[in-house]
């Protein structure tokens, strides 16, 4: 799989959610590790430029970050770090406040990073910040595919819907992946996808240019509430390494399998 991939470009997947605190960074890291375990070359780009915490999740203390790349202090190559789980990361660090606005510099830098690194990996995951700010929307626009992470909470569903609406109307997204995190029981993900699709069909599709394909939500995964998740985050370990075989790990692995069949 990886040798055929060496001639082509990575699939760039943006992980976004609207609402913060739904497990975006946790999911990006564990999905990346699962993809790596399937033999894929994976890079996670921490695009939460204002309040990054991929380093915290992965228990890394980076000496070089995107900040140094942006200022030209180091080469892009030198900022790519190995992460536990067998994938690579580009960390933002938490001091990138001056880059949390979408300046032409941030645009050009992020575009250059993706263009430079896409030929070297099979998957690039862009971990975006919360919200639907222009930095988040720009980061998503760099990706081939977008994954919206949602939990069964009404606030999360509302923000996920707002994100989907903006992506469909402003960026012309027609296929959007949905992963439902923290489900109480398996099957709840399908219900939530169904609800979101219903509202999209009713309110978003009529806003689109006539004759265009309607946006569809694809349920790529559902991950159950699992006490191991909290424990892994507390211990700053990857769930799939700390608790192989637990319900959430199996669900994340099933999700990765859909991303990399």
């Amino acid at each position: 799989m990886s040798d055929s991939a060496s001639t082509k470009r990575a699939t760039v997947l943006a992980v976004t959610s609207g609402k913060g605190g739904v497990g975006k960074t946790f999911m990006s890291a564990n999905l990346a590790a699962s993809l790596a375990a399937r033999g894929r070359r994976v890079l996670v780009l921490d695009a939460d430029l204002g309040l990054a915490n991929l380093d915290v999740i992965l228990n890394l203390f980076p000496k070089v970050t995107l900040h140094d790349v942006f200022t030209g202090k180091v080469q892009l190559e030198d900022a790519i770090l190995p992460a536990p789980g067998g994938f690579s990361v580009l960390l933002a660090g938490s001091g990138l406040v001056e880059y949390s606005r979408l300046t032409p510099e941030v645009r050009e830098q992020l575009l250059r990073i993706i263009e430079t690194l896409a030929p070297r990996y099979d998957h690039i995951l862009i971990d975006t910040g919360a919200g639907i700010s222009d930095v988040v929307l720009y980061a998503v626009s760099l990706a081939d595919e977008v994954l919206v992470l949602v939990t069964p909470e009404p606030t999360s569903m509302t923000d996920a819907y707002a994100t989907i609406k903006v992506l469909a109307t402003q960026q012309g997204r027609r296929e959007i992946r949905l992963v439902v995190n923290q489900v109480g029981r398996l099957g709840e993900g399908r219900t939530i996808r169904g609800q979101l699709q219903l509202v999209v069909d009713r309110f978003v599709t009529p806003m689109l240019p006539g004759g265009e394909k309607a946006p569809t939500l694809e349920l790529t995964g559902e991950v159950p509430l699992d006490s191991s998740v909290r424990e892994a985050v507390q211990k700053r370990q990857l769930l799939i390494e700390m608790a192989p075989g637990c319900a959430a790990t199996r669900a994340i692995e099933a999700t990765a399998a859909k991303l990399a069949p």
């Binding site: 979408l102 300046t103 032409p104 645009r107 050009e108 575009l111 639907i132 222009d134 929307l137 720009y138 998503v140 626009s141 760099l142 009404p154 606030t155 569903m157 509302t158 819907y161 707002a162 609406k165 903006v166 109307t169 402003q170 960026q171 012309g172 609800q195 979101l196 219903l198 509202v199 009713r202 309110f203 806003m207 240019p209």
Partner: protein, 241 residues
């Protein structure tokens, strides 16, 4: 290259007559005949043909083909630089009734007059094109959103203020409706989506009575109570979190 030689199977020659005819008909100065067959001459012919294929013959404005090229490069520029760019779709009001009342030659006069007026409205960096029929399109790079309405309004007033002389002593007034949308600020934005957004605003300007300019309002990310109601499977909007 020996365009003057007869065509044989061994040495195929260029058939230039149709091209030269088109160039001649357009009123362009023809490339210097003394250089026939030389690269510099051929380049001049190609330049002439490119120019022809990017212009609207009636109004002399850029045609839709040229406009779409400009659009693509503007989308790329906006994605990289993040500068705002405004697209205006401009449609002559009641054009059909001008044609029906005064005949097609007068319709052509009106099209030319409006085209000339639009040309006078733009900065050197802007582009105005005849998009098709009585519809024109404009791209204004680096136009701040706060100026959009004023810019569109200025174009509208300028057209409204000039009348078209259709016969000695006989003039007709003409107005336009305008729809505007700012460029998508993202990578992978599509030109058809941008055009469609401006078109939707043009439609709004038409239905709201014509001779007006409507620009897209940035309200799309709001989630209404109705949408929330459907999302949570209830119609009691007031009770929602």
């Amino acid at each position: 290259m020996h365009p003057s030689q007869p065509d044989t199977a061994d040495s195929p020659t260029l058939r230039l007559a149709p091209a030269m005819q088109l160039l001649q008909q357009s009123g362009r100065e023809l490339p210097d005949r003394r250089a026939v067959g030389q690269v510099v001459w051929l380049q001049a012919v190609l330049d002439g043909l490119c120019e022809l294929s990017s212009r609207d013959p009636l109004t002399g404005l850029a045609n839709r083909r040229e406009f779409e090229l400009v659009l693509a490069s503007e989308i790329d520029r906006v994605a990289r630089a993040g500068e705002p760019a405004l697209m205006l779709m401009i449609d002559i009001d009641h054009f059909k009734s001008i044609n029906d009342t005064h005949g097609h030659p007068v319709g052509d006069l009106v099209l030319k007059a409006v085209a000339q007026t639009l040309k006078e409205c733009i900065r050197p960096m802007d582009k105005v094109a005849r998009f098709g029929g009585e519809e024109f399109a404009m791209i204004l790079p680096n136009c701040p959103p706060s100026f959009g309405q004023a810019v569109a309004e200025r174009v509208r007033k300028k057209v409204e203020s000039c009348s078209v002389t259709i016969a000695p002593g006989q003039q007709v007034g003409v107005t336009v409706s305008l729809g505007g949308a700012f460029a998508p600020q993202w990578v992978r934005s599509s030109a058809p989506l941008w055009i469609d957004r401006a078109d939707q605003q043009l439609y709004r300007a038409k239905t709201e009575g014509r001779n007006r300019a409507c620009l897209e309002q940035p309200t799309v990310s709001l989630v209404s109570a109705e949408e929330k109601g459907l999302l949570f499977g209830t119609s009691k909007f007031a009770d929602l979190p």
